[in-house]
Each structure stands twice: as structure tokens, then as C-alpha cells.
């Protein structure tokens, strides 16, 4: 039996594996659910086996819908399935990753259910039975608390890499739901190409060297790249450096870029605008070098060094 009043996570695939944001959401959901059952909703092809991965992150239930048609299913077809499932089992809340796929699917479900949907949340928690959704606005310069008092389910999409995924004990109950999927001739996938996305490598990176305006010199960039190679780190940038031909918005940390949560971030010449801080606040160890000891990034760092980023890069290169 699928429980009522559950906290549901709509699982997403990235290629053939479960997307990291799904696992991050499961961990967060378990932490805030209280007595509510946490369920992962999995729409997959019969040959896929997403439930095995999901089970390791401790949901109480995994609701599995399998059909050949889930390969390349249109947003409209997926939304119809999900809407039906939600109407039948009345979860308290339904969460999606704020990925392009999640952001395309969630509002279609929202409209069919005539309920609220908060986009791109950075935090959420329960107050009694109300899910308080915290989302940024105006380019992360403002935070809003949004609630949906009168309608259910409460729905939100959550920004990837905002929470850390942690494996958890516990046997998930698998609930298989029969599916009848009508093919949608109005939107037919012709071709899918997996991108070798810099975004993916940066968002999943365990170590990051981040460059800002104070490191905007070819020699410093080259030195930082060598350093990154030696440390096994990815290179990210703050917004001003996306104007350089050798960086794009895909390497940008923060709003309209990538949210990161590495074990180490070394900020070189990054001043730390609010949108940048929000984008890296989940990092475990933050070390920052900046010419200005009062730069906002400094108070967000575990260790600081005041001086020219290039000088520190050179000194590090000598030692490594």
C-alpha cells in the first residue's frame, strides 16, 4: 500500500544513473519529514533499475512505474502519469530537482492539480503540516519564504547541489504501479546526445579552484589550471571571468551558474558577491586569497590570505 500524506521525491535519471539531485533530495527529505513517510517516485523503462540506487538513500517507499514508453516520453505524457498518481495517493508534498527536466515537468503537474509550486528552492522545512519553502529571487539578492496554505500537495523544485546526499540504512518498500502510457505524437524525440558538460564536472567536483576578477591575468589563469591538475581540482570562475574567451557561464559558480558543494574550494581573487556566496556556501573547506582583507568572501572562509592571487599561485606551484 502506498502511504497517504507522504513526502514524495520525483526521481530523475541523468543518462543511465539516478541524478545526484534526487539522492540529495532524499537525504534532505528524511531529515525534515518527521513521521511522514518519504517516497521516491521512479518512472523508468523495464530494463532500468533505479530502485537499487534509490534504496541506498533510505526512502520508506519506492513507487516504481515501468514502461517502455518512458524512454523519450514527452513532458505532457510524464505529467499525465504523475498527476494521476498524485491524485490517487494524495501525498502531502512533492519535490523535484530544479533541473531543466524537473522545471519542465513540475509546472505541468502543478497546473493539472491546481496547486502551488515554488521554483528553485534553497531550503525547506515543516512547520506543523505546512512546508516552508525558501527560494532566492532577484538574482539571489533576496530570499523569500513561500507557503501554500490551502491546497495540496505542496510542490517545489530544489536547486541541485544545495544539500549533500548521504546513504542511509533501512529497507525501502517497493510499490509497483501499473502504467498505461499513451504515446504523444505531438512531441517526438528524434535524437538525444549526452553532453560532456563542464557543468556536471564542476557541480560534482570534490575540489575546486575558483578564479575571480583578482585572478584575471593569463599567467595566473594558466598557473591556476596547472595547480588544479596537480590537486585533482576543477576550475570554476565568478561572473566577471565568464567574459574571458576561455571560460563560459558553464564554469560560473553562483546564480545563473552552478551551485557547488566540494570538500575544498580555493577562491583566488574572488570578492564574493551574495550570489557567489550562496553558490558555494555548501563547501566543506573554504580558503580564500584576496588583495582586500575586507572583501565579503573573507568572512565566508575558513582560512584567508591577504595578497595578490598570482603570488600565492606561484608559491603553491613551487611547492607542488
Amino acid at each position: 500500500m502506498i502511504s497517504k500524506e507522504g513526502l514524495w521525491i520525483v526521481a530523475e535519471f541523468e543518462g543511465t544513473r539516478i541524478a545526484p539531485v534526487t539522492l540529495q533530495l532524499l537525504t534532505k527529505a528524511r531529515a525534515i519529514a518527521g513521521s511522514r513517510p518519504v517516497a521516491a517516485v521512479l518512472m523508468e523503462t523495464p530494463e532500468a533499475d533505479g530502485e537499487e540506487t534509490l534504496a541506498q538513500y533510505g526512502p520508506d517507499e519506492i513507487i516504481v512505474l515501468q514502461a517502455e514508453g518512458f524512454k523519450d516520453a514527452s513532458d505532457r505524457a510524464l505529467a499525465a502519469q504523475l498527476t494521476q498518481l498524485i491524485q490517487a495517493h494524495q501525498p502531502n508534498a512533492v519535490l523535484f530537482g530544479a533541473t531543466p527536466a524537473g522545471r519542465s515537468l513540475a509546472p505541468r503537474v502543478q497546473d493539472q492539480l491546481a496547486t502551488g509550486l515554488t521554483a528553485d528552492c534553497l531550503d525547506f522545512y515543516y512547520e506543523e503540516n505546512e512546508l516552508v519553502q525558501v527560494k532566492p529571487s532577484y538574482g539571489d539578492n533576496v530570499m523569500c519564504e513561500i507557503v501554500c496554505p490551502d491546497r495540496r500537495p505542496q510542490m517545489a523544485s530544489v536547486r541541485p547541489n544545495t544539500f549533500a546526499a548521504q546513504k542511509a540504512q533501512g529497507a525501502a518498500r517497493i510499490e509497483r504501479v501499473p502504467v498505461s502510457l499513451t504515446p504523444d505524437d505531438s512531441c517526438v524525440v528524434q535524437h538525444t546526445a549526452l553532453k560532456i558538460a563542464a557543468t556536471t564536472s564542476l557541480s560534482g567536483a570534490r575540489k575546486i579552484i575558483a578564479l575571480g576578477r583578482g585572478a584575471n591575468k593569463d599567467a595566473v589563469v594558466a598557473g591556476a589550471r596547472q595547480l588544479a591538475e596537480k590537486l585533482g581540482a576543477s576550475v570554476g570562475v565568478s561572473r566577471p571571468l565568464t567574459d574571458r574567451p576561455d571560460f563560459t557561464a558553464e564554469q560560473q559558480i553562483g546564480q545563473s551558474g552552478v551551485t557547488v558543494s566540494p570538500d575544498l574550494i580555493l577562491n583566488l581573487g574572488v570578492s564574493g558577491a551574495v550570489q557567489y556566496q550562496v553558490g558555494m556556501s555548501g563547501s566543506k573547506l573554504v580558503i580564500s586569497a584576496n588583495r582586500d582583507p575586507k572583501a565579503p568572501i573573507m568572512a565566508q572562509s575558513d582560512y584567508t590570505w591577504t595578497g595578490d592571487a598570482g603570488a600565492l599561485v606561484a608559491a603553491l606551484q613551487e611547492l607542488l
Partner: protein
């Protein structure tokens, strides 16, 4: 091809300020501008019209000042514009806004393609496009980075979905949301600006549309913003490393070593 482009006027800057007493956003002094992604949507529409013929109609909901943004869109090459403006629309969230826009698109009639920018840069939701598509029971292609007209009322749309790029064949009528990568919006020439002043701009209120009063404005909006505040990320220890670059580099590597990061 009859194309509607839904556009939004957003604050000219994201550097918003708070009233220290009411904690409300201070909106005064913020000139409005067109949401940048909507410029890509208009450009995509104008290019499609250049390729296959038809007309480009702009649609926006907002206060009277939104007319300026609609005029900008007309100067970019759109043929006509509609402004949806009424006290009854105030407080509409994405669900209510999507419903009102969908009813206006129905009223315009015979629309083959509705375009949106991928999201608006103020609230960054990107929800209204898919909501409108659902209201009108239409297929959608979100996050489009390429739009190509095909024969027999179809479009080939390349969707940039982050980890994958997907090409879909879309049967019209349909809704497409457009990424910045799709094109470079054209410059508004002085002649185009001059001509835009003579293009039709119609204002519709709630009285001009067929609307369920329980689905518009605050009544039709399930979400409530209960608090707005400036983000304050928790501060960290900010322990200074030694002043000398070499000593600092040494200390830094020692820290990484101690934490198993080398």
C-alpha cells in the same frame, strides 16, 4: 504562422533594496526593462516569420508602464501587442498568471506557436510557459537552443537540458521556451522604433476576457510569500594564513594534507 510571444517586464536591476521598517522591497526608482530571455523569444519569432510568413503578436500582463516594454518588442519586429492590465490581476502567482495568459491566447485565436523566454530573471521560475501549455493542452519544448520550421505545421526544436541535448519534432500548435543560446536579438534601429509607434497596442482588462474569477489574482494564487529577507550566509572562522606567500602556500598545503585533501 501565427506566433504569440509572452513577455514580462522585470526590474532594471537585481540590486533591490529593502524598506528597513516594513521589510518590503523598495520598487521605486527601478525602471523596468524587458526580461532578457524574452528578447531571444521575440527574435526567434521574428526569424520564423521571415522564414515562413505569418505574424508575431506580443502578450504581456502588468501595470500600464509595461507598454514601454511592449513598444521595445514592437521595435524588434513584432506586428502587434496586447497588454493585460487590471486591478483584478494583481497578486497573481505563476498559476493564476498562466491561466490568464492562456485565456488571452484563446481569445486572440488561431495561434500556432506560443513562445516564452526560458525564465524571467526576477523570480527565475520558468513555470508560466509550461502552465500555459497545460491550460491549452498543448505539447511543449522547453529550453530551446534551436528552432527550425519543418513542413506540415511542425517544428524541429533542439532542447539544451544540461546533461543532454535533445532534438524533438513538435506538431503545432505548441509552446516553446527559448534559451539565450538560440540567437542574438537584433538591434532596434531608429526606423524600427519610429515604425513601432504606429503598430497596434491593445489593452485588455478582466472584462475583455472570459475568466473564472476564482482563478485570477490573489484568489487564484495558491502560494503566499510570507517573508522576504536579505540572505546572510553564516560566517566562518577566517583564520589568516602567514603573510609571506611562500609561508602561506606551505601552511595551505599542510591544512590540505591534514584534511586528507592532497
Amino acid at each position: 504562422m501565427k506566433i504569440v510571444v509572452c513577455i514580462k517586464q522585470v526590474p532594471g536591476s537585481n540590486r533591490v533594496k529593502f524598506d528597513p521598517i516594513t521589510h518590503n522591497l523598495v520598487r521605486e526608482g527601478l525602471a523596468g526593462r524587458m526580461n532578457p530571455f524574452d528578447e531571444n523569444a521575440i527574435e526567434a519569432a521574428v526569424r520564423l516569420r521571415e522564414q515562413v510568413g505569418g505574424e508575431v503578436i506580443l502578450l504581456s500582463m502588468g501595470p500600464d508602464a509595461t507598454k514601454e516594454t511592449l513598444h521595445d518588442g514592437l521595435a524588434m519586429g513584432a506586428d502587434a501587442a496586447y497588454l493585460l492590465s487590471a486591478r483584478a490581476f494583481a497578486g497573481s502567482d505563476t498559476l493564476a498568471t498562466g491561466y490568464i495568459l492562456a485565456q488571452a491566447i484563446r481569445q486572440i485565436g488561431g495561434v500556432d506557436l506560443t513562445l516564452f523566454g526560458r525564465q524571467a530573471v526576477d523570480a527565475d521560475t520558468g513555470q508560466v510557459g509550461p502552465i500555459v501549455a497545460t491550460e491549452l493542452d498543448l505539447p511543449q519544448a522547453t529550453f530551446a537552443s534551436k528552432i527550425q520550421p519543418l513542413a506540415a505545421g511542425r517544428l524541429a526544436v533542439e532542447r539544451d537540458l544540461g546533461a543532454v541535448t535533445q532534438t524533438v519534432q513538435l506538431t503545432l500548435p505548441a509552446v516553446v521556451t527559448v534559451r539565450a543560446e538560440a540567437n542574438r536579438p537584433r538591434y532596434e534601429s531608429p526606423i524600427a522604433i519610429q515604425q513601432s509607434l504606429h503598430k497596434p497596442l491593445t489593452t485588455w482588462t478582466d472584462q475583455d476576457l472570459t475568466l473564472d474569477a476564482s482563478r485570477i489574482g490573489q484568489a487564484g494564487s495558491p502560494t503566499v510569500v510570507r517573508k522576504v529577507f536579505a540572505p546572510t550566509p553564516p560566517t566562518r572562522a577566517a583564520k589568516p594564513l602567514p603573510e609571506d606567500p611562500k609561508a602561506a602556500a606551505k601552511a595551505l598545503l599542510d591544512i590540505l594534507q591534514a584534511q586528507g585533501l592532497l
